[in-house]
Every structure is written in structure tokens, then in C-alpha cells.
């Protein structure tokens, strides 16, 4: 006889109830949701773009431009370095393929030249023979560079999309040099496309320490004409966390507010800075998070300017030691480090009590003004909201009718009791899939609904297998209880095998597919996984409980 320990029965019931609780926010009205804790209420299935309407872009970053630019700078620095080391050269040329070639006058100076190359950038690789040296970045460095460019492009995209006031964009890396951008609810993509390649505005300004000291952290009533107020990034983040309404107002204001207006109206922490730009972000070559070798390896940010930027920066820092230099990005001050010493030679560091994560973030922000690659749209799909509504309607009707037909069929074939068991297991399976998708925050797409319908059709299959086996065992002369037990146990291997094979297809489809197809693979694979639970454990519980309760001698099957 089928037996299930009591604790397992209880565990199954608790598990199912939990699934119900997690799936619940999907059907709760918004007014109720607002009363519930956020971590719970946000367990909702997102509708995919094909259902809610919106735009989907696949963007490809053109890395050649970035690389060539880097190489031009390498060539510039190398010329200086070679002169310093008194190496005579015919030419140092940046090639369009991302290489730099050096032709020496004297082959004997090759070793010194390579030393100079290392001094410029240790990640450079030197090849070639005789007086010619062929320089390129190591593969490792190229991979790092690629990742950096993509991360940075993602950061820039996020800012740009936020500016358009749309909510919840999805921006993720795809493969090595692509970005997937999904913006729900947007109809006209023209503005967005125009914004995609807009460069972030990064500028360095000196802080007006006199004004800052006079106002003592508060807002100065009067400002000299040379100075303006800019909110700090931290301040804006804090505003976003405490007063989201104000933040949204700022983001969606039309015409856009100036930094000073933001400071005056919403009072986030602001800094008075000189309007004059010390250096622009276009002169910043690179910024990366590293560790201070001298001071016990604490996290710092190192940055490099091109020649012009280096000169302006050198002059400004020499005259303003002890003062703060504000780094402004898109109307926010991302940091204002104190100038410790004159920074000449084009590169410097920012120190402070940073965590490695903070330095990563700061470096990324600094790079937002420099070095990005052109993003080309290689795939675009837009769905109007009304089209999405049509799809929701069609999907819902198909799902309801499909489920109804399957239930009707199971009742008709196996009677109210066993048909009911099968339909109950199927309903629980559906509940588990929905709960799973809610917890994972997965998107439900139109093909995803098709996956759910298939799940419904497939999840009663295990009951069919069990019942048909029971009928067979019964025909072979077993008792009612014996037939049920044997039928369940013998059908089990086939149930598990058939689920696994279908799961293989589902998982591979997930790995390969994109967008809506991934939605299909998600709901189908989840359905198969949860089906393993309902088919093996849940159905077992139903049958075992029923058998213990009724002790049947005859089966209406």
C-alpha cells in the first residue's frame, strides 16, 4: 500500500501553501499591494514586452574606435618615453588595426625601447624583429577593455534612459560586445535612439571654498557670478531613497532643471563650484579601480589624461593644493577629492576611505565621460500597447479554454474522483509554476503562455500513465489497493524519464533562445520541474491519503 509519513504530508501542504502565498501578489489589486511589505508585494510575474508593449533593442558596441584611440595615446606617450630614454627612432605610428609600430634607428636599443613600452603600459605586448617593434594589447587586456567598455556603455545607457522618464528599463550585457536594452511602455523610440549615443558630460571644477566655508554646509543665499551650485551624487541618491516623488519630479521636469534650481527647490546637499571647467571629460583617457601599492594596498582610483588634459590639470592642481576639485557628471558631483599635490604627467590617483566596490563604481562613473564605443542597433522590436493587450486577450482565452478542455477530458475519462485528483495535481502544478516565476521575477511572454498551456497538457500525463497502469494491474487480478500501489510505483520511472527528456529540450532552448522564446523555455522548463514534484510526491500524497481514508475494495477507474 502507498504510504507517506505524516511529516511529509504536512511538508507538502506547507510547501503548496507557500507557493500559493508567493503567487498571490499577482492577482491582488494594487491598492492591497501598497499595504503589504515591499519584498513580498514585488513577487510578481513581469509581463514581457510582447504583452505590455515596449521596445527591445540589441546594440552592438564598435570597439575599433576605442582601441584606435587608446593606441594613438600609447603612440604619443611612447614618443615621449623614448626621447626620455634617448632611444632614436624613425617613426612611431598607430595603425588602424589596433597596433602601434615602432621603427628604431639602432637595433641595439631594442631592449631599452621595450623597457620604455613597458613603462607606458605594462599590459602592452611587443613583437616583431630587428629594428621594427610591433605593439599590441595582450588578449587579457583586450578582454578587460571590452568588458570595461560594455560596463560603461550600460552605465551611460541607464542614465540616458532614466532621463527619458521611463521606468524599469532592463539593460544587460549579451555575449562579449552586445547590450540588450528593453524599455517597457515606450511607443516612440525616436527620442530614445537619439539619446543612446549621447555622451555623458563630465567636467572638473574647483570648489569655491570661500563660499563653502561661509555657508557652512547650508545653501548660500548669494553666490558670486563665477560660482554655481551643484547637488552631490550622494545627495541625489539620498533624495531618491527618502523622497521619490521629488526625485521623479526632477527627472521628468520639462524644461530640465539646472543644478542650481534643483539645489534651491529640493535642498539636497550641494557644493558651490566655480563655473570654469578645469578639464573636460573628453580629455580623460581612462580611469580604473586599483590598489595603492605603497599604503598597504588600500582601494584607490587611478586616472589618465591625454596630453592637453594633463597640462590643464597640472596647472590647476599646482595652484590649488589643499582645495577640493569637484568632478561633475551630468549635473551631479560624483566626488570632490582634496588636491594633495600638483598632479603633472597626465596621471593621478584619488584616495579616500573607499571600499573596492566604491572605487569600481567611481571609476566607472569617471569613464562615463570618456572612451565609449558607438552602439549600433542590430535588432529592434517594438510592440504597441494595444497590440500587447490583444496578445494578452488571445493568450488568456487560449489558456482558459485549453485548461478547461484538459480538465473536462480527465473527468470524462477517469471519473470525478481520479479525474479530480489529476486536475487538482495539475492546478497545483500551475500554481507552483506561477509562484516560481514570481519569485524568480521571470517575464511572462506570449510564447510563455503557450508554454503554460503545454504544461497543463503535459502535467496530467503522469496521472494518465499511473491510472492506465492501475487499470492494467486491476485487469491482471490485483486487489484495488494493490493495483493502485503497483500502478503508481511502476508508472513512476516512465514519468520521470519522460519529464527529463522534455526538460533537456527546454533547458537547451533557454540557453539558445532570446526574448519571447526564453519566456517559453522558462515557463515550460519550470512546468516540467514542478511537475516532477506534483507527479511524484503530490499525487502520491493524494492517493495515499485517499486509500487510508476509504480503504477501497473497488475502483471506479
Amino acid at each position: 500500500m502507498l504510504h507517506l509519513p505524516r511529516w511529509q504530508t504536512i511538508a507538502i501542504i506547507i510547501f503548496t501553501a507557500l507557493a500559493g502565498i508567493f503567487a498571490l501578489p499577482n492577482i491582488l489589486p494594487d491598492s492591497v499591494d501598497d499595504l503589504l511589505p515591499k519584498w513580498y508585494a514585488q513577487n510578481r510575474i513581469n509581463l514581457g514586452l510582447d504583452l505590455r508593449g515596449g521596445a527591445h533593442f540589441l546594440l552592438e558596441a564598435d570597439l575599433r574606435g576605442v582601441l584606435n584611440e587608446r593606441m594613438t595615446n600609447v603612440a604619443d606617450s611612447l614618443r615621449g618615453e623614448l626621447r626620455k630614454k634617448q632611444v632614436a627612432f624613425k617613426e612611431v605610428a598607430a595603425e588602424p588595426n589596433g597596433h602601434v609600430t615602432v621603427e628604431l634607428r639602432d637595433e641595439a636599443q631594442r631592449a631599452t625601447a621595450i623597457e620604455a613600452i613597458r613603462a607606458v603600459d605594462p599590459s602592452l605586448v611587443a613583437a616583431g624583429t630587428g629594428p621594427v617593434i610591433d605593439i599590441s594589447f595582450s588578449d587579457q587586456e583586450l578582454t578587460r577593455k571590452r568588458k570595461e567598455v560594455i560596463d560603461q556603455s550600460i552605465e551611460i545607457l541607464r542614465r540616458r534612459v532614466d532621463e527619458t522618464g521611463t521606468l524599469e528599463p532592463t539593460i544587460v550585457r549579451e555575449g562579449s560586445d552586445r547590450i540588450l536594452l528593453q524599455v517597457p511602455g515606450i511607443k516612440d523610440t525616436t527620442e530614445l535612439k537619439s539619446k543612446i549615443n549621447q555622451t555623458a558630460k563630465l567636467t572638473f571644477h574647483l570648489v569655491n571654498e570661500n563660499v563653502a566655508a561661509a555657508s557652512g554646509g547650508g545653501l548660500p543665499a548669494v553666490l558670486p557670478p563665477t560660482t554655481f551650485l551643484v547637488p552631490t551624487r550622494e545627495g541625489m541618491q539620498a533624495l531618491k531613497a527618502t523622497n521619490i516623488k521629488a526625485y521623479d519630479e526632477i527627472q521628468s521636469a520639462n524644461p530640465r532643471l539646472t543644478p542650481e534650481q534643483i539645489c534651491r527647490r529640493y535642498h539636497p546637499p550641494c557644493l558651490p563650484v566655480f563655473k570654469r571647467v578645469v578639464v573636460g571629460g573628453e580629455d580623460l583617457d581612462d580611469a580604473k579601480a586599483t590598489f595603492d601599492q605603497q599604503q598597504g594596498g588600500r582601494p584607490i582610483i587611478s586616472f589618465t589624461f591625454n596630453a592637453a588634459g594633463g597640462r590643464s590639470f597640472c596647472a590647476a592642481t599646482r595652484q590649488n593644493i589643499g582645495k577640493r576639485l569637484a568632478i561633475q557628471l551630468d549635473n551631479e558631483i560624483i566626488s570632490a577629492p582634496v588636491v594633495q599635490s600638483a598632479i603633472c604627467g597626465g596621471s593621478g590617483i584619488i584616495t579616500g576611505s573607499f571600499t573596492p566596490q566604491q572605487t569600481q563604481e567611481q571609476a566607472l562613473l569617471l569613464r562615463s565621460g570618456a572612451l565609449p564605443a558607438t552602439l549600433t542597433i542590430i535588432e529592434e522590436r517594438t510592440v504597441g500597447a494595444d497590440l500587447g493587450a490583444d496578445a494578452i486577450h488571445a493568450g488568456t482565452v487560449a489558456a482558459l479554454v485549453g485548461t478547461g478542455l484538459v480538465m473536462f477530458f480527465m473527468f470524462g475519462t477517469y471519473g470525478p474522483l481520479f479525474g479530480g485528483f489529476a486536475n487538482l495535481a495539475m492546478a497545483v502544478n500551475l500554481l507552483l509554476v506561477l509562484a516560481g516565476m514570481s519569485v524568480l521575477g521571470a517575464s511572462l511572454t506570449l510564447p510563455g503562455i503557450a508554454g503554460l498551456v503545454l504544461t497543463v497538457g503535459m502535467s496530467v500525463d503522469s496521472n494518465v500513465l499511473i491510472y492506465e497502469r492501475v487499470r492494467e494491474e486491476r485487469a491482471n487480478g490485483r486487489s484495488a489497493l494493490g493495483a493502485l500501489t503497483a500502478g503508481y510505483e511502476r508508472a513512476l520511472t516512465a514519468v520521470i524519464d519522460s519529464n527529463f527528456t522534455a526538460l533537456i529540450a527546454g533547458v537547451l532552448l533557454f540557453g539558445f533562445g532570446s526574448g519571447p522564446i526564453r519566456g517559453f523555455a522558462t515557463s515550460l522548463s519550470l512546468g516540467l520541474l514542478t511537475h516532477l514534484f506534483t507527479a511524484t510526491i503530490f499525487t502520491r500524497m493524494l492517493l495515499a491519503t485517499w486509500m487510508r481514508w476509504r480503504r477501497p475494495t473497488e475502483l471506479t477507474l
Partner: protein, 391 residues
């Protein structure tokens, strides 16, 4: 009738399935050969996912759609092959435009669009031949942000940094021919938009560039092969190598004949269609597992029974199961075909066929495979010994 159980398939059938295997194999071979011939002669009707191109869903602002009129309008646009079909209801249509080449015509289109959208003072000209460069000229001087905004009117996204910082009234955009081809997709959308927006609403647009189309095709083929291979290996581990090969043959049979359905009905072979093919491969094996499981069980029980009789017995014993499980999925998919709407139509039709052919192939093809692979009861022994050794 709902309140008492029914036996849809009689409990004890004694049909000589394997006796008809030559007929079944003949029929299947014919269907598969015809499918393959169809693919090579008529070709699959690849959707834009694999071919690249543009698909635009439109709806008439008033009344029903006039396909002939719309077709004539679209054909005169000079953006290559355009095809139209009714989509969903009488007032909606799907316009498909072929993948765009980054040629001079495309730049001429961009010029027209630019003049229409930004004013007559604008012009767009191709740059030096051999490159994909494009030269924009405007009526007044613009800075980099202005240029960025201006070129985006024709769907071109250019990095602001790469545009001239000082005010100019002409700018050359450096592009490779490949990048220009991707951009021309955007231009073509705007050309269609301008031509039809007076009478039609655009409800949705899809544009797949040449590059991504080729990649999706490549990875799609890999996905199908990997799925078939992985399932066959799973069957081999769970059963015997003969079962693995039998399953593989029946899956190939289902996949190829499903593709045949796409050729026969000229269904759109898109990413969803590929999803259907993979799901069919995974699903058709379900019934095969049920039959194989019973074959294995019976081989142990009836050691003296000949293979043909053994297979017949196993198939008949499991017949109600294979048929019933297929019916449940069939009714669910039928609901998708009828109510699922135009987007899911090809997918659902393919799935419907897959359910039928999957059941058929599990019975005849997979089992007939076992006959020709000369499965012998004694080959199961090592597994039994293995099982004994474990306990």
C-alpha cells in the same frame, strides 16, 4: 457522461503493429524524403528572425484593410521585396520587407526621409566608394549635440564624441559597409512609415539586422542538433544503445516531417517555430519512453518471446497510455491554434502536428528501429547483474 470513467482505447488490443512496419517505414520514408525535397526545392519560408529584414504590423485607421492597394504602395517604395498578409483580423496586416543592403539607394532614401522630416535644406549623400561613409549637410551650423539629434531623424545612432565639436554645416559619418547595412534597416522602416502612416496605424515593428539573422540561424541549427544528441545520450544511459538510436531516429523523423509541414503550408519559420521543433523533439520522446520502458520490462519477464511479438505486446499494452497522453496535449494545443492569435499560429500548428506524428513515430519508427538494430534480451543482462551488484 462526466461522472463515470470511460475507456477511450479498448483495454486489450491485439493489433499487429510490427507486422505493418514495412508499410509504416515506407510511408515515413516517403514523408521525410518529400519534406527534405520540399526544403531544398521550395525552401523554408524563413521569418525575419533568421533572414534578417523588417516586419511591420499595421491596422487600418478606418474600415478593413485593402491588401492590393497597400501592396501596390509598398512595392513602389523601392526598398526591395515586400510581402503582405492579413494578420489576425480583416483590418490588420503584416508587412514584411526584405533585409536591406547598405547600397546607394538606401542613402537616397535617407535623403528623402531627411528632407521630409527635417526640411528641404538637408541632404544625405554617400561618402567615398568602398566605405559605408555617409555625408550629411544641413541648412545651418550645428554642434555635436545638434548633429546627434539631426542624424537620429533617419534612425542613425552616432556617438556624440565622434561628431565635430565645433559648429559646422556638414558632417561625414564613418561607417563600414556592414554598419551601413544595419542602419539601412532603420531607414527602410521610416520609408514605410512615411508612405502609409496617413491611412494606417503602426502597431508593432520588428527589425533584425543582417548580422544577427545569420547568427540566429547558426545557433538554431546547433540547438536542434544538441537537443537531439543530448536526449539520445540520455536514452542510451537509461536504456541500451539500441534504444538511444531508436529514439534518435524517431526524433529525426518528427523534426524533419515537422519542417515538411512548414514547407507544405508555407508557414513562417521563425524563432517560435524553432521552439516548436525543439519542444516536439522533447515531447515525442515522452511516448517513446513509455513504450521502451514496457519493452524493457517485458524483455525481462518473457525471456523466450521473439522480438517482434515482444514489441507488439508492449505496444498494445501501452497503447491506451500513448494515445491518452497525446490527446491531453492535443486538446491543449488545439485551444492555442484556435484562440492563440496570429503570433502563435505557426507555433501551434507545428505543435499539433508534432503531437500526432510523435505518437505515431513512438509506436512504429522507434520500435521498428529496435527490430533492425537487432535488440536481444541477453543484452539486458549486464544491467541486471549491475543492479544485483548494487543491492
Amino acid at each position: 457522461m462526466l461522472w463515470k470513467p470511460h475507456h477511450i482505447v479498448p483495454a486489450h488490443t491485439k493489433f499487429d503493429f510490427m507486422g505493418k512496419r514495412v508499410w509504416a517505414l515506407g510511408l515515413s520514408t516517403l514523408i521525410n524524403v518529400l519534406s527534405l525535397v520540399g526544403v531544398f526545392v521550395f525552401g523554408l519560408n524563413f521569418g525575419i528572425d533568421f533572414e534578417g529584414g523588417i516586419a511591420i504590423q499595421v491596422r487600418a485607421k478606418q474600415g478593413t484593410i485593402h491588401l492590393d492597394e497597400l501592396r501596390a504602395t509598398a512595392a513602389a517604395l523601392g526598398i526591395g521585396e515586400v510581402s503582405l498578409q492579413e494578420f489576425g483580423d480583416k483590418s490588420s496586416a503584416l508587412i514584411r520587407v526584405q533585409r536591406q543592403e547598405g547600397n546607394a539607394e538606401c542613402v537616397a532614401h535617407a535623403d528623402t526621409v531627411m528632407k521630409r522630416r527635417a526640411g528641404n535644406g538637408w541632404s544625405v549623400k554617400p561618402g567615398a566608394s568602398g566605405t559605408g561613409d555617409v555625408v550629411f549637410t544641413g541648412p545651418s551650423q550645428l554642434d555635436s549635440a545638434g548633429w546627434r539629434d539631426a542624424v537620429s531623424r533617419v534612425g542613425l545612432t552616432v556617438l556624440e564624441r565622434e561628431l565635430p565639436r565645433n559648429n559646422t554645416n556638414t558632417v561625414k559619418i564613418d561607417m563600414t559597409p556592414e554598419q551601413r547595412a544595419e542602419w539601412c534597416q532603420q531607414v527602410a522602416i521610416k520609408v514605410v512609415d512615411d508612405a502609409i502612416s496617413e491611412k494606417y496605424d503602426i502597431r508593432g515593428t520588428e527589425s533584425v539586422g543582417p548580422k544577427i539573422g545569420a547568427e540566429l540561424m547558426h545557433s538554431g541549427i546547433i540547438a536542434v542538433l544538441a537537443t537531439l544528441g543530448a536526449i539520445a545520450v540520455y536514452m542510451w544511459f537509461r536504456f541500451e544503445w539500441q534504444f538511444g538510436i531508436g529514439a534518435l531516429i524517431s526524433m529525426l523523423h518528427d523534426v524533419i516531417s515537422t519542417i515538411g509541414i512548414f514547407v507544405l503550408f508555407r508557414l513562417d519559420f521563425s524563432l517560435t517555430a524553432l521552439a516548436a521543433v525543439l519542444t516536439i523533439a522533447g515531447y515525442s520522446i515522452n511516448d517513446t519512453v513509455v513504450v521502451f520502458d514496457r519493452v524493457r520490462e517485458n524483455m525481462r519477464r518473457y525471456k523466450k518471446l521473439g522480438l517482434i511479438d515482444l514489441l507488439n505486446l508492449s505496444i498494445n499494452e501501452t497503447l491506451s497510455r500513448t494515445v491518452m497522453t497525446s490527446i491531453t496535449v492535443f486538446v491543449a494545443v488545439a485551444a492555442l491554434v484556435i484562440f492563440g492569435g496570429p503570433v502563435l499560429y505557426s507555433f501551434s500548428i507545428a505543435m499539433l502536428w508534432g503531437v500526432i506524428v510523435g505518437t505515431y513515430s513512438s509506436i512504429w519508427i522507434a520500435c521498428a528501429g529496435l527490430v533492425y538494430l537487432k535488440l536481444r534480451p541477453e543484452q539486458l543482462r549486464h544491467e541486471e547483474e549491475g543492479a544485483k551488484a548494487k543491492t
